[in-house]
């Protein structure tokens, strides 16, 4: 696989952009019976992501972490605050970003290659170019033999690979991943983590990765932002050497300490010994 990565142009022309969130808030109002119910999904969330950095946002379900991704993807406008990619404020979807969703969100009426082609098709790239480019990324995620298969003919892990290939084919400066491996079985999840690590280490695009799994966050990230309800409560730097592998992590003494710390932060403790 290393060969392919070094030779394929898949690695060219992607360059991470920094991401800055300033005071992001997201409030919803709904009238239920006689009550006006206000939900603060996000409340004054600020963070910085350096170019080419891999940052995970971890938190219990319902803490608003997916909302951060939706705002970054341009699918939702924050109630207040702003989010910058590069130096540009996000005003809507754009091809500097690409998203991998939790359910892979593949179009059931399109084959693997046509799913990967979709964003390029929307951007008006001609058929030959987009098919060639799509194939590069399908090979990158190891699905070359399945190019003409339909999504329902693939396993969950393979579908998620297609979702990843589709996002990478955009050659985004920032890759947004919203619990991409949350629906996978344990074996597929580990494989996908390894592959993502391998691909990212060569492409060096910026990644914002949403997860609720501590081990996943430690294995993949440079930094982990811990979210509580609607806000970021803590930040943990993962100072483990790269390139990393699952195996190195298990034998590194620092891993356990990081796990304990994240565990405690997630549980809402202020002082971690």
């Amino acid at each position: 696989m290393t060969n392919l990565l070094e030779t394929a142009s898949a690695t060219d022309s992607t360059q991470g952009s920094g991401v800055v969130a300033r005071g992001l808030s997201m409030h919803y109002e709904r009238i239920v019976g006689r009550d006006r119910v206000r939900t603060r999904a996000l409340d004054d969330v600020s963070f910085d992501v350096r170019p080419q950095e891999f940052v995970s946002i971890i938190g219990p379900s319902g803490c608003g972490k997916s909302t951060v991704v939706r705002i970054a993807a341009g699918l939702q406008r924050p109630t207040s605050g702003e989010l910058l990619v590069g130096d540009q404020p996000v005003r809507g979807p754009g091809d500097d970003r690409a998203t991998v969703f939790q359910s892979p969100g593949l179009f059931p009426w399109r084959t693997v290659i046509n799913n990967v082609c979709m964003p390029l098709e929307l951007a008006g790239i001609d058929k030959k170019t987009r098919q060639a480019r799509a194939m590069e990324y399908i090979e990158l995620v190891g699905l070359a033999g399945f190019r003409d298969h339909y999504p329902r003919e693939l396993s969950g892990g393979m579908q998620q690979r297609v979702g990843l290939a589709r996002a990478l084919a955009v050659r985004p400066r920032v890759l947004l991943m919203d619990e991409p491996f949350g629906n996978l079985d344990a074996i597929s999840r580990e494989r996908m983590q390894d592959e993502l690590l391998r691909i990212w280490e060569h492409m060096k695009t910026t990644v914002i990765f949403i997860t609720h799994a501590i081990d996943e966050a430690i294995l993949l990230s440079d930094r982990v932002l811990v979210m509580g309800p609607g806000r970021i409560v803590h930040e943990v730097t993962i100072d483990l050497p790269r390139p990393r592998s699952r195996h190195d992590l298990l034998s590194d003494t620092r891993t356990l300490g990081l796990m304990r710390e994240l565990e405690a932060r997630l549980a809402g403790k202020e002082n971690v010994s």
Partner: protein, 280 residues
């Protein structure tokens, strides 16, 4: 080459089948055998019962067949058939075009759906046959009231299914499309419509069958026009065999119309829509 890729190549194998194998698979199947045997069984039962009861009460298939041999070569029969079929085709096309457009508008714009929903729900349950006499009063005995009857019979199914199809669009896929920068037009063409098409075609298939019913009901009530009229006249003359013959003709028209729609659907969708891909 990666290990995953090697894996992929070992799992997926392709083999091209010979033409004769493909042909045999499509003609001789167990399902086909069951269908043909069951129809034969019904025909035999009908024949035995008909022989016992006599032509006046229940004309057996042989009598109906004899009537068919007499009727089919006459120009009278072909003009009846032409008249009826043309009306059905025209009414169905109008219902299809209007119905699909209205359904899509309802699915796309909430206000249109809000405005039309009560009317559609009412139209859906009204027995259209009850309106036909009104159409005669309003439009006379010409061709137009019959075509309008066909439209009324067919259009509501088509509207409701098209509406359901558009509404059924997967919100997730819509987000995916939007996140990759699809314009509203692209979203409609590449995300909403492909998802809605199976619904729309199902509605058109039902609509085609209902169009045939609409035509025959209108003709029966008009008396003396088209195949419905011929059924009425034959019944008045107690010609059970002719009534049955014309009922068979109507059935054949209905099935042909429905199959024609299905054929168009297959040809259009076969190559790209998952639900139309053959299971192996």
């Amino acid at each position: 080459m990666s290990s995953m890729e090697a894996l992929a190549q070992t799992i997926v194998e392709r083999e091209r089948l010979s033409r004769s194998t493909v042909l045999r698979r499509s003609i001789l199947s167990r399902d086909r055998l069951i269908q043909v045997s069951f129809i034969a069984l019904i025909l035999v039962g009908w024949q035995l019962l008909g022989n016992h009861e006599g032509d006046f009460f229940l004309a057996p298939p042989t009598s109906v067949f004899r009537t068919a041999v007499d009727e089919i070569p006459t120009s009278h029969f072909w003009s009846l058939l032409g008249e009826t079929s043309k009306g059905i085709a025209l009414g169905f096309v109008i219902a299809a075009v209007l119905g699909v457009i209205i359904g899509i508008l309802m699915g796309t714009y909430r206000s249109v759906a809000t405005a039309l929903n009560p009317i559609i729900s009412a139209g859906y349950v009204i027995p259209e046959a009850a309106i036909v006499p009104l159409l005669i009063v309003w439009f006379g005995l010409g061709n137009s009231p019959r075509v309008i009857a066909v439209v009324l019979f067919a259009i509501f199914e088509i509207i409701v299914t098209a509406y359901t199809g558009v509404r059924n669009a997967d919100a997730m896929l819509n987000d995916v499309g939007r996140s990759f920068g699809a314009s509203p037009r692209q979203l409609f063409v590449k995300v909403t419509m492909p998802g809605a098409l199976p619904f729309i075609f199902a509605g058109l298939r039902i609509g085609a069958a209902r169009a045939v019913k609409g035509m025959v009901v209108a003709e029966l009530l008009f008396a003396a026009t088209g195949i419905g009229g011929a059924i009425q006249l034959s019944a008045n003359a107690f010609r059970t065999d002719r009534v049955m013959f014309y009922v068979v003709v109507v059935t054949v028209i209905g099935v042909s119309f429905s199959s024609a729609v299905q054929l168009i659907e297959r040809l259009w969708m076969r190559s790209w829509h998952e639900s139309y891909r053959q299971q192996t």
